[in-house]
Every structure is written in structure tokens, then in C-alpha cells.
């Protein structure tokens, strides 16, 4: 991992050299490197699969012929606590992955729509975190002085919040709001300082490079320098970091939904589905395994992808 020899001392935050090398462009190198790895190909396939599911959820579930909120009373046995009739949790030609106990809702339709909700929240929250974090980090690092002090204090404060406890509390307090928007905002609110610190460190090391000084002497305004010279320099670590926080976001959404403060019924999300199905783990294992497996695969794929991207784009930024 630590391919470049370096003499800098190891105390956080770490400064990384910009991923600029002689010869072919850094992005081409990265792409070539990525293509070489099997784990990357597999993870990309999984990510693409679930991304497609997210985008085309209504279409895909229409193939199954059941809506995610449609009851099927004929598929469950009311005398046995609403347990699905038939093997493997009611898997049949009609219900490809079986049905949900009690309601008889189609598991395939729900898991597909659940992907939409879970990934939508995770991606939007990630976007908020990345945009806010990068902006705060660049500004703090470049301007320094009082701006840096204020922003750094704000980062410290945000990081001192017991975030999960606070998220649960805020989600359970709010009512009459769009749950998906709220959840995105709440998750995003606590995520930005991590990336802001990385970007700040990176910016600090870039700010006195020759090409930046040259731009400054050449009369470029600070905002122009930030956008044209600094931002590309921090892009590599930011991309790697982004991929690595996606699984965290998915897991957080799932955890909140698991605790019952996530989306409202009848909207499915993976966390909500796992929460409901945990109690059935031995009487209807299929119900429990299907959403859990989806969650597991997605988190795994993003972690592998993020690892690979980090190795290539930010060879020294192994922290956080």
C-alpha cells in the first residue's frame, strides 16, 4: 500500500502528494489498475446490479406481478400466526422469493423497492456529506486563520455528539415530515467532519505548491484557485473516501430503520425488513435471509471498491 517512500512524520492529519505522475494521466492509470483486479470487477457488478434495481424498481417488481404493498391472504396461514404456506417461506411461481408472514406481501417486490429506499437515502446522505465536507475542508485549509479555527471547532463539536443516539432521538421526535428526506438530512448532518478533516489536511499541503503560488501571482482570485487548482488536487482522496463511507451510510440507514425510527409503513427498506424479520429467523428463515443478504452484499461490494480506489488514488491516506 505504501508504495511511495516518504519522509514525513506520521501524525494526523496526513498530507498526501497529489496523484500526478509523469506519462499517462492519473485517471487512466487508475482505470487500468482497477481493471486488473477481480474483486473490483465483482464489486462493480454487485453495485451495478443494485443500482439498476434502485433505478428501475417499479419496472422490475412489475415483472413479478405484485406491488410491494399488495396483500396476499391466500399465501399465509392465519392459524399459525400468519406463517407463509409452502416451503422456503412460500416460494412459488407467483412469489419468487416467497412472501412476508402475516400480510402475504411479495418479498421480491419489497426487497426491490427496499433497495430503492435504502440506497437512495445512503447515496443522498453521502452526497451531502461529501459536498459539505469538501467545501468546509477546502475553505478551512486554504484560508486558515479565524475561518479555520471556527470550522475546526465546529468539526470537533459535531464529532463529540453521540451521533447514533442523537440520530435516533431526532428521528423519533419528528413527525409529519417526509421520512426519507429527514433521514438523509439527519445522517448527513453528522458525517461531514470526517471528510472535512481529510480535505483540510490535503489542502494545507497543496496550498503552497508552486503551481498554486503561480496562479496566485498570476492574479487569480481565491475562489478561482480553490475551484481550478485545489479541488482537482483533493479529488482523488475524496473519491476514495466517498466510496468508503457509502457502506457506513447504508448501515446507518439500516440501523435506524432496525430500531423502528426509519421509514414509515408500508414503505419497505432493507433495515425495516430485517427488523421485522429477525423474529422469524427460525420459523421463516427465508424472510430473514433475503434482505440481510442484499444488505451484506451491497456493503461488502462498496467496501472492496473503496479499498481498491484508495490504494490507487490515495496511496497514503489509509487512515480514518
Amino acid at each position: 500500500m505504501n508504495t511511495t517512500s516518504s519522509t514525513s512524520t506520521a501524525s494526523p492529519p496526513k498530507a498526501a502528494p497529489p496523484p500526478v505522475r509523469a506519462g499517462s494521466g492519473p485517471w487512466q492509470l487508475a482505470r487500468a489498475e482497477l481493471r486488473r483486479r477481480t474483486s473490483v470487477k465483482l464489486s462493480l457488478a454487485v453495485v451495478a446490479f443494485f443500482a439498476l434495481m434502485t433505478v428501475a424498481a417499479p419496472l422490475i417488481s412489475a415483472l413479478g406481478g405484485w406491488g410491494p404493498e399488495e396483500f396476499d391472504k391466500t399465501a399465509v396461514d392465519p392459524y399459525l400466526g400468519g406463517l407463509p404456506i409452502g416451503p422456503l417461506g412460500g416460494v412459488s411461481a407467483e412469489h419468487w422469493l416467497g412472501v412476508e408472514p402475516v400480510t402475504g406481501r411479495d418479498l421480491f417486490a419489497r426487497v426491490v423497492h427496499g433497495a430503492q429506499v435504502s440506497l437512495l437515502i445512503a447515496f443522498s446522505a453521502t452526497a451531502i456529506v461529501v459536498v459539505a465536507g469538501t467545501a468546509a475542508g477546502i475553505v478551512a485549509g486554504y484560508f486558515g486563520g479565524r475561518v479555520d479555527t471556527v470550522l475546526s471547532r465546529l468539526m470537533d463539536l459535531t464529532m463529540s455528539f453521540p451521533s447514533l443516539i442523537f440520530m435516533i432521538a431526532m428521528m423519533s421526535v419528528a413527525r409529519d415530515v417526509n421520512r426519507i428526506v429527514l433521514m438523509t438530512a439527519v445522517i448527513g448532518l453528522f458525517g461531514w467532519p470526517g471528510i472535512a478533516r481529510v480535505v483540510r489536511g490535503q489542502t494545507l499541503s497543496l496550498k503552497h505548491r508552486e503551481y498554486v503560488d503561480a496562479a496566485r501571482v498570476g492574479g487569480s482570485g481565491p475562489w478561482r484557485i480553490l475551484a481550478r487548482d485545489i479541488l482537482p488536487g483533493v479529488a482523488g482522496p475524496v473519491i476514495a473516501y466517498t466510496t468508503l463511507i457509502v457502506p457506513g451510510m447504508i448501515a446507518t440507514e439500516a440501523a435506524l430503520s432496525y430500531l423502528g425510527v426509519g421509514v414509515r409503513p408500508p414503505t419497505p427498506s432493507w433495515g425495516q425488513m430485517i427488523a421485522e424479520s429477525v423474529a422469524y429467523y427460525d420459523t421463516d428463515p427465508m424472510y430473514f435471509v433475503v434482505p440481510s443478504l442484499c444488505l451484506f452484499l451491497t456493503v461488502l461490494a462498496f467496501t472492496l471498491l473503496g479499498d481498491a480506489l484508495r490504494d490507487i488514488l490515495d496511496p497514503r491516506g489509509s487512515g480514518t
Partner: protein, 581 residues
């Protein structure tokens, strides 16, 4: 997965479309799924495990802490059972017998069932001689009066309000903490207590079963802290109580069995382990290994555990499923559009698929579909009549027709349900959707639930909640739920349909004035059908309380007057030597 899906999909699209319409169109008529005998009711009205032996440790596995054990604040069915059967005695109590006999009164602290005078406005009770607290000091009539006064205190909220509803001079009274006392409760001597009521109340003896009428000596009263250590007048006293963890009861040696006809006090120790996961409790009691053989569950069996219980005869034999006697209803806001139109309300009654609601609440083994407002125990024969004759799964065509008559083809509305009733909310959402009524679900935390639906201005049109009679009389049901004069703008309770109907209110007053109990009961039953026809609510289910007991448990039955909770007065062990020490 993806490939297979696509291949299958083309082949299946047509058949599925047909299948789906076939399902939505209409179920087989009412009762097609009925398998004859309900597998969960084999133990109904029976005592499980024979007569217990004295001694041993009884364990109660619970997923929660008690709401309140302070007798002035205890008004939750199971907690009242636990408190009044083990820790404190009340003036009167219910007989410790399964089935309908459990609704009959018997003496407890008092030596008679109460003497009324002044046209049922004055009630006198005489205490038995020789009653003692856990420290051996005598129980006096003044102590009963003192606890009645405590129940008025704003520092001690949560308890029954019958005293406040009926006693003379109750308005504005704030409890004894500031040294003020109620003149309408008199104690001419240590063993006599006299209550003076504002209006005639023939059923007052039933109210004296409530924990409000248990003795609390002034010297032991620590205000809100008393909740953590109530002073015992019953067969057991508290050895230790770690909130939300564990409560240990040991024998109160000063309790004299000869003064008590109800409590048997078989076990030497009773340990309540709290805060366990409900599913893990079920699994432990199904296995019933080691100390769990001498354990009973506190809360209802989880629906997802039913297959594990009902499919095994030896486990099923240990299941109690007494009716809670609470009717759960879909309540409509009759005070505003669209539910101010009786045709729309009747459309809801017809659209509601009670089978789906039933499945969502644990299935027909553990619930009965409701066909009337009051629970079966308030009707002759112990069964609800079916005056509307709506099929179990509803009649969607009829509902659509009623909506059409009302000039509506589609409706959008919302419902408030408590978190635990989420599945029921979804069943209602789905079934009303069939008739073109689109419902949005608002789930609210159980603690905030009554608060939310009690705000009559801001609440949703629909709410799913029920009512349980406090004692077996129509007077504790219909007036609480359908008397328009009890409606409050905020903090409304009971009448969640905001039903205000002059004919109904007039009739309620007439029945309340009846002196013949038999005649009054008949009249309540008739009024029930009349209200139902005006459709302020759509009755959905009457739940049962499924409770699993260990293999070493004896003398267990669900008590009808305590919402089907195990009667703690009689439960004990078959073989005390097998229990943990």
C-alpha cells in the same frame, strides 16, 4: 437471479395478472378457512396443572417493567392483578376462579360486600378484624381513606379516577400532601369507612376492587418514591426491586391466611425478571429447561412464536388464551367531513376486512372477530351478537355502493395507530383501499398515542383503539365510549369517534337511573346494537391474551377480570423442589 427472473417473467405475466385480480376481487365467503375447533382454546376456562404444592420459587419472565406498583397509580390490567393479588389488599376483590366466575365479587379487607343507604349515594364498609401490614402494625380504615386521597395528588398521576368521578367534594382537591383531607370519606372508627357520592352508583362495590382502595399508612408514604417500594398488606413483600431489571418478593409473615379467602400464596418466593426480549421469553418457555420450567410469561406470546407453540401438542397444552374483554375498533371522526356522513361510515364498516386485521393481530387462534361494540362478557351467553351480518372479509361492493350514495367515489384519509399495531394499520389501509378509500398511516409511540388522538382538532380522521370495561357492566363501556358530553377538545379519551347523538345520550341517562341490574343490562345490550347501526366505529377484533407457562407450573388460569392475565392469587408449582432456590 436476474436472468432466471427475466425468462420466468414473460411466461408468468399473464397468469399473474389473472391471479392478482382473482385475489383482489373477492375471497371465498366468510369462514372458508375455518378449521372447526380453535387449536388455542383447549385450556379455556380450565386451571392448568392441577393444585400447586406450597413452596419453591415462581419466576415471571417479562419484557417490561411495571408501569406503577403504587396502589394510587396502578391502572394497567396486568399490573393491577399483580399488585392486588400479591402486595396489597383492597376493600373487595374478584373471586379467584376461571371463566365467568372471575367476574364475581368477594370480600377482601372488608367483611361484607358493602352496605348502601341514601339511594346508593352512601356506601359503608367494615374491615375484618386482625388485619396486619408487613411490619405487624394493624391496617386501619384511615389508611384506606389516605390512599384514596393520595390518588388525587398531581405528584402521583396515572391511577383510576372513579373516586374523582363520584366522591362529594372531589373537584379541585389536590391530595393530602398539603394537609387537606376529603370530608366525603369518613372513618368513624378504625374498622369502618363510609363513602359519600355525588350521584347514585349501584355498582360502587365493583370500584372498590381497584387499587385506589388499598391501604397505605401515612408513615410509609414517600410520595412518588412509594412506587419503588409499596408497603405490603398482602401475602408477599418486596425484598428487592431494581427498576427494569428484577423484582423479588418474599413471604409477608404477618399476612394471615385465615383472613383471606382468595389468595393461596403457594410459592415461597416470586422473582420477576424484566426487560427480556419477548421472543427469547417465548423460546425459553417452549424449551422450559431448568429454572424456566417453573416460569410463566408476563406478556402476550409473540405472533411469530405461534407456529412453534400450536404445532407441538405438549407445548400447546401449556398455553393459556383467555379473552382480554377489550373490543378494538376502527374509530371515525364523526364530527367532520367525510365521516360526518353516516353512509361513509357504514361504507367503512363494510369495507373493513376483519380477517386481515385478525391475522395482523395474531390470527384467529388468538383473537375473535368483533361483531358488536361491547365485548362478549357483557352480553347474555357471553358472546357478542351479530346484528349487521357483514361478512368477515367485508363486502366491497356494498361499501362502494354506500360511498356512491354519499356522492363519493374515492376518499383520501389517514389513520393513527400505536407502533405495536403497525401491521393492523397496514391491514386496514389495504382493506379500505379496495373500496377506494386511500389511507395514510401515522404510527405513534404507545406513550404518545392517547395524547395524539386525544387532540380532537389536529388528530387524523381514523384511529385504531379499543376499550375494556373496568367491571362487568355496560355502564363502564358505552357511556365512556359514546357519550358526547365527555368529549374534550384536548386530552379526549374513550369517545374517540367524537360521537354526539342526542337519542343515545338520553337513553344512557335513562339506563343509568335504572335500579334493576337485570333490566339495565338488557337495555345496554339493546343500545349497543342501536349505536352500531349509526356506525361511529367499526368493531374489528376482541383480542385474547396468549400466555405460555412452564412445565412445573400448577394452578394457572387467565383471569377474565384482569384482561386474561394469569391470576397470581392461585398460581404455584407442581414440584417446588424442582425450582431454583
Amino acid at each position: 437471479m436476474n436472468k432466471r427472473t427475466r425468462v420466468l417473467a414473460t411466461a408468468l405475466v399473464t397468469t399473474l395478472a389473472l391471479g392478482a385480480t382473482g385475489c383482489a376481487g373477492g375471497e371465498k365467503p366468510d369462514g372458508s378457512r375455518d378449521r372447526g375447533k380453535n387449536p388455542a382454546l383447549a385450556n379455556s376456562g380450565a386451571v392448568l396443572g392441577g393444585t400447586p404444592q406450597k413452596g419453591g420459587t415462581l419466576t415471571i419472565l417479562s419484557n417490561q417493567d411495571f408501569t406503577h406498583l403504587d396502589p394510587a397509580r396502578n391502572w394497567v390490567m396486568g399490573d393491577m392483578d399483580f399488585g392486588t393479588r400479591l402486595l396489597y389488599r383492597t376493600l373487595l376483590t374478584y373471586k379467584a376462579e376461571p371463566g365467568a366466575k372471575g367476574g364475581e365479587l368477594t370480600t377482601d379487607l372488608a367483611e361484607d360486600l358493602g352496605v348502601s343507604s341514601n339511594g346508593a349515594k352512601t356506601w359503608t364498609f367494615t374491615l375484618k378484624p386482625g388485619l396486619k401490614y408487613e411490619d405487624g402494625t394493624p391496617i386501619t380504615a384511615q389508611d384506606v381513606k389516605y390512599n384514596v386521597e393520595r390518588s388525587f395528588s398531581p405528584d402521583l398521576p396515572g391511577g383510576p379516577d372513579y373516586a374523582a368521578r363520584y366522591l362529594v367534594g372531589a373537584e379541585g382537591y389536590q391530595g393530602p400532601a398539603q394537609g387537606k383531607h376529603l370530608d366525603s370519606v369518613k372513618t368513624p372508627d378504625d374498622r369502618t369507612i363510609v363513602f359519600e357520592l355525588r350521584k347514585p352508583f349501584a355498582e360502587f362495590p365493583y370500584a372498590t376492587v381497584l387499587p385506589t382502595f388499598a391501604p397505605v399508612p401515612k408513615s410509609q408514604d414517600k410520595g412518588p418514591q412509594y412506587d419503588n417500594r409499596p408497603f405490603s398488606s398482602g401475602p408477599y413483600k418486596i425484598e428487592s426491586y431494581a427498576r427494569d431489571k428484577q423484582l423479588v418478593l418474599v413471604r409477608n409473615t404477618h399476612w394471615n391466611a385465615s383472613t383471606d379467602t382468595v389468595r393461596k400464596a403457594y410459592p415461597d418466593r416470586i422473582v420477576v425478571t424484566m426487560g427480556l426480549k419477548a421472543n427469547q421469553i417465548d423460546d425459553r418457555l417452549i424449551t422450559a429447561a431448568g429454572a424456566d420450567a417453573s416460569a410463566v410469561s408476563w406478556d402476550k406470546l409473540r405472533p411469530e412464536s405461534t407456529p412453534k407453540v400450536l404445532t407441538k401438542p405438549d407445548v400447546k397444552a401449556r398455553l393459556l388464551a383467555e379473552s382480554t374483554n377489550c373490543t378494538e375498533m376502527l374509530q371515525m371522526h364523526t364530527g367532520r367531513a367525510p365521516f360526518d356522513d353516516v353512509r361513509v361510515r357504514r361504507a367503512v364498516q363494510y369495507a373493513l376486512d376483519r380477517e386481515a386485521v385478525l391475522t395482523a393481530s395474531g390470527g384467529p387462534a388468538l383473537n375473535d372477530p368483533a361483531t358488536a361494540l361491547m365485548p362478549g362478557s357483557l352480553f347474555s351467553g357471553g358472546k357478542q351478537p351479530d346484528t349487521l351480518k357483514i361478512p368477515l372479509t367485508g363486502d366491497v361492493e356494498k361499501a362502494k355502493q354506500l360511498l356512491k350514495e354519499a356522492g363519493k367515489t374515492s376518499l383520501t384519509t389517514s389513520i393513527t395507530v400505536s407502533n405495536g399495531d403497525k401491521a393492523v394499520g397496514e391491514a386496514i389501509q389495504q382493506s379500505l383501499g379496495r373500496a377506494g378509500i386511500k389511507v395514510t398511516i401515522e404510527t405513534v409511540d404507545p406513550s404518545a398515542f392517547y395524547d395524539t388522538i386525544g387532540d380532537t382538532k389536529n388528530r387524523t380522521d381514523l384511529a385504531y383503539t379499543g376499550w375494556c370495561p373496568d367491571f362487568p357492566s355496560g355502564s363502564t363501556f358505552l357511556p365512556f365510549v359514546f357519550d358526547g358530553r365527555y368529549i374534550k377538545e384536548k386530552g379526549n379519551s374513550g369517545n374517540h369517534s367524537l360521537f354526539r347523538d342526542d337519542a343515545t345520550m338520553k337513553r344512557m341517562d335513562e339506563i343509568a337511573a335504572m335500579t334493576d341490574a337485570e333490566q339495565a343490562n338488557k337495555a345496554w345490550q339493546e343500545l349497543d346494537a342501536q349505536i352500531l347501526a349509526k356506525a361511529p366505529t367499526a368493531p374489528a377484533v376482541v383480542e385474547r391474551r396468549p400466555l405460555l407457562v412452564g412445565t412445573n407450573i400448577a394452578g394457572a388460569f387467565g383471569h377474565t377480570s384482569f384482561g386474561g392475565q394469569i391470576d397470581f392469587a392461585t398460581v404455584g408449582l407442581k414440584d417446588p423442589a424442582k425450582s431454583a432456590s
